[in-house]
């Protein structure tokens, strides 16, 4: 009797466990399912209130995708995002890789404090700075130009990347550089020829995070850019495609889905390193 009671309780616990995970997964993923199914629904199907909205009630259509790519600037926005992303990644790596290495190896205990200070600047939000920033951008003549974003985005990608890279460089055994320096390389030479080649994984992680930060940014882009053809995806879709009383839900959802899910897939491979960065060593494994 007691044994049967126990298996029953075990089974209930397992059911509860799956139930909790299922509920959370539905909560998290439902909007993306919603985007996907809306993308392929024909307009009459979307607009008939009696139809079951969770499924396709009529034959799927590619019309919304055609509108998105041919009748809107979506393609241009994707290109703009990619353009800004690539340059910001380059700037971030050039500045953050040496900085992360210096913090990890050469600054001693002061490096730790400086590292935390740099990381904290990542938390200074765009909403605090966007007003003076828009004035500076105007004075530089960069209003409405993608270069304004190239200039400003490293202000949050560098702090985060420096912090991440510092962690990576700390994990590399010091003997490797010391051996290289005994072989006649300078300290800087050892960094360039020995440390960087074995840090490819860390640098790749930094590239992915920088790209996602650029893709997600909204506040600066909506402040600096007013011409539709210079928008990035995250601003173009919500401000330009959502206008007037008629919403093109099909194309809108297609635009959202296409620019969210592929990046998320890539990101999923690197998420553990991201967490290590955020927990700041408050967790020791």
């Amino acid at each position: 009797m007691a044994a049967a009671d126990k298996t029953l309780r075990n089974r209930a616990a397992r059911g509860g466990h799956y139930g909790v995970i299922a509920l959370f997964t539905i909560f998290s993923a439902f909007p993306f399912y919603w985007m996907l199914i809306t993308t392929f629904k024909s307009t009459p199907d979307l607009l008939k209130r009696g139809n079951n909205p969770f499924i396709l009630n009529e034959a799927p259509t590619l019309e919304h995708l055609r509108v998105l790519f041919y009748d809107t600037l979506y393609g241009q926005w994707l290109w703009n995002t990619f353009f800004v992303g690539a340059i910001v990644v380059a700037i971030t790596l050039v500045l953050a890789v040496p900085a992360g290495y210096a913090l990890a190896r050469m600054m001693g205990p002061a490096g730790e404090k400086l590292g935390i200070a740099i990381f904290l600047t990542y938390l200074v939000p765009p909403t605090l700075l966007f007003i003076p920033m828009s004035r500076i951008i105007g004075d530089l003549g960069l209003q409405d130009s993608l270069w304004s974003l190239v200039l400003v985005y490293p202000s949050f990608t560098i702090p985060f990347s420096t912090w991440l890279l510092m962690g990576f460089f700390k994990a590399i055994p010091k003997d490797l550089e010391e051996a290289a320096m005994i072989d006649g390389l300078s300290r800087f030479g050892a960094f360039v020829k020995v440390v960087i080649p074995i840090s490819v994984a860390g640098i790749l992680t930094t590239v992915i995070f920088t790209l996602t930060l650029v893709m997600q940014e909204f506040v600066y882009a909506v402040t600096f850019i007013t011409a539709a053809r210079n928008f990035t995806v995250s601003v173009g879709v919500p401000t330009f495609l959502v206008h007037g009383d008629v919403y093109f839900w099909g194309s809108l959802m297609a635009g959202c889905f296409i620019s969210s899910v592929p990046v998320a897939l890539l990101y999923n491979f690197f998420v553990d390193r991201f967490v290590t960065g955020f927990t700041m060593g408050a967790v020791k494994g």
């Binding site: 900085a99 919500p238 899910v261």
Partner: protein
Amino acid sequence: MTTLERGLETRQAPPRPAGGFLDRPEWLGPLMIGPAVLFIVLVVGIPFLLALFYSVSDISMGDRTMRFVGLRNFIAIWGTTNFQTAIWNTFVFAIVSQILVIVLGTALALALLRDFRGKWLIRFLLLLPWVAPISLGTIGWLWIFDSTYSVLNWTLETLRFISPNDWYMWLGIPHLAMGSVIAVHVWRILPLATVILLAGLSSIPHDIHDAARVDGAGYWRHLFEITVPLIRPIMLVAGLFGLVFAFTDMIVIFVLTRGGPYDTTQVLATLAFFTGIQGGDIAEGAAIALFLFPMLLAVAIGFLRVARRTEVV
């Protein structure tokens, strides 16, 4: 003795005089970190000082002259109902969403701690809201909350909770609108809090759990007397990050409600945007945005205290 020391010194000198400063950490270190620090000072430090400066001036969009007006902007906005509502809403939005995030995040992290099939896919789906550009995810919610075609209303009607004639205007009625923007914000931050809490949970040594089980602690007692106290520092970290994001976020509200209906979801960040950028009153916008700063400072101090206590090395 002295000759020996001199002899050692010459032997230790770098073999290639040209490589001099590239070998000395006290030169090379600052040289390598300098450009990054300089950049941050230029693009974060200067705008911040300018924000302070603007907030005590009478600058506006069309007018290039600037006069010092002391605390006039602060006094002016402090008295307006707009601003008072926004401050209140900011706290409601940030604190309610953070409490939900920590409670739900802990529950989810506990569930994810156990192994099960398909964990990779589940983790991917759970992370989507955090990774996808938030403005686009929020557009998805805008369609879910749509006043005419809301899938939520359809479901409620089909389950016979409401009749076809009283579909909710999710974003059009004050309390529902606040509830909706909080729900979307929780949806967005939950993955971050969960992965941080999960890292904390997995770092608890197994023998602690085993010992508690041997001592006969039940599930809830085990949870609240063993697990939660052990992950308290990491909960604090997750909570502080979440608070920063919640206090300063304007995207969810900007996309869903634009502060409406009747300013009931207006927060400091959106009010600063509508006043300073769209309204052109730079000085007042800057003053409103500066009210975010004390909150950030408090969070940063809390953060450093956690970092010190856990001896970040």
